[in-house]
Point group: C2
Chain length 142, copies 2
DNA sequence: TCTTGACCTCAAGCGAGCTTCAATTTGCAA
DNA sequence: TTGCAAATTGAAGCTCGCTTGAGGTCAAGA
């Protein structure tokens, strides 16, 4: 089982070494061991990083991710993940999708509507109301 | 034409006065006039603020918004908006929606898959690849 | 007229997610 | 064994979107 040095992990993940160290400081990843001072990573860290990127793109903070991904043991890739938490997150993503769908329609309308003043266009007003009500109600997460 | 003071705009928009002043410093809104030192707003600023909130929820920065919404004149609500820009934004939102859709599916899979190690699950690997390729290609905006 | 409280400005601070810098240590090739 | 490229640490800096605080001004009601 070859371990990877930080440069290799950086190269393969596309993250700068500084970011990897930052992640470690937050407990979202961990080095397997050290060779002298230098971090040695288990290859599984790459999967974990992919999962982290996934979470970030989904709009979750590194703190959130650390929590739902479980402690960074650095050990043999045994993610003990919080399934309930993750599916709650998926629900949040779905809500976000619905919101963005409304927003997209509103934007397209604004781009195309010829009303001299948008504020007056009833169609726009209604979409706006929907979209904003929405984000008001779902201010909690995402 | 009654003009509104900052407290009124704050009350009606839900934004703190400090936020309104901050917006003004970025040129995203403008006060109509001053009564002494105090800002007086045309009621149309509320529509503009709603539009701004819309843009923010869609994921655009205040800079972006200032640009596509046009200069804040403070005048009689004649938004001169960049229609092409806005429809580009809508495209970006749509791409984001497609990405989030993949992410949601990936998250739900992770939450439910019983493979001892996610990294090994082929279904997951594939979704991951899709999702990440995606965000890689669309790193530009949103 | 005086008082008061809302408003003003400018500067600094905050949290997230990193990067950069400076000073130091060290693994590895020659 | 030497020497250097690359790693380490800790602190500070940066962008975004605001908030907070200090110190000052002023419109309006008693």
């Amino acid at each position: 089982m070859k371990s990877l040095d930080i440069a290799e992990v950086s190269r393969r993940s596309g993250l700068k070494p500084s970011a990897l160290r930052y992640y470690e400081s937050l407990g979202v990843i961990a080095a397997d061991s050290r060779k002298g001072l230098r971090r040695q990573y288990d290859p599984s860290v790459l999967d974990r990083l992919a999962l982290i990127a996934l979470g970030q793109r989904a709009g979750f903070s590194l703190q959130d991710i650390a929590a739902t991904l479980g402690a960074a043991t650095g050990a043999e890739a045994e993610f003990e993940l919080d399934r309930q938490g993750i599916s709650d997150r998926a629900d949040a993503v779905d809500r976000r999708i619905r919101e963005l769908t409304l927003l997209s329609r509103a934007l397209r309308h604004v781009a195309q509507c010829q009303a001299p003043n948008h504020a007056q266009c009833p169609k726009f007003r209604q979409m706006m109301a929907e979209a904003l009500t929405w984000s008001g109600e779902n201010r909690q997460k995402l």
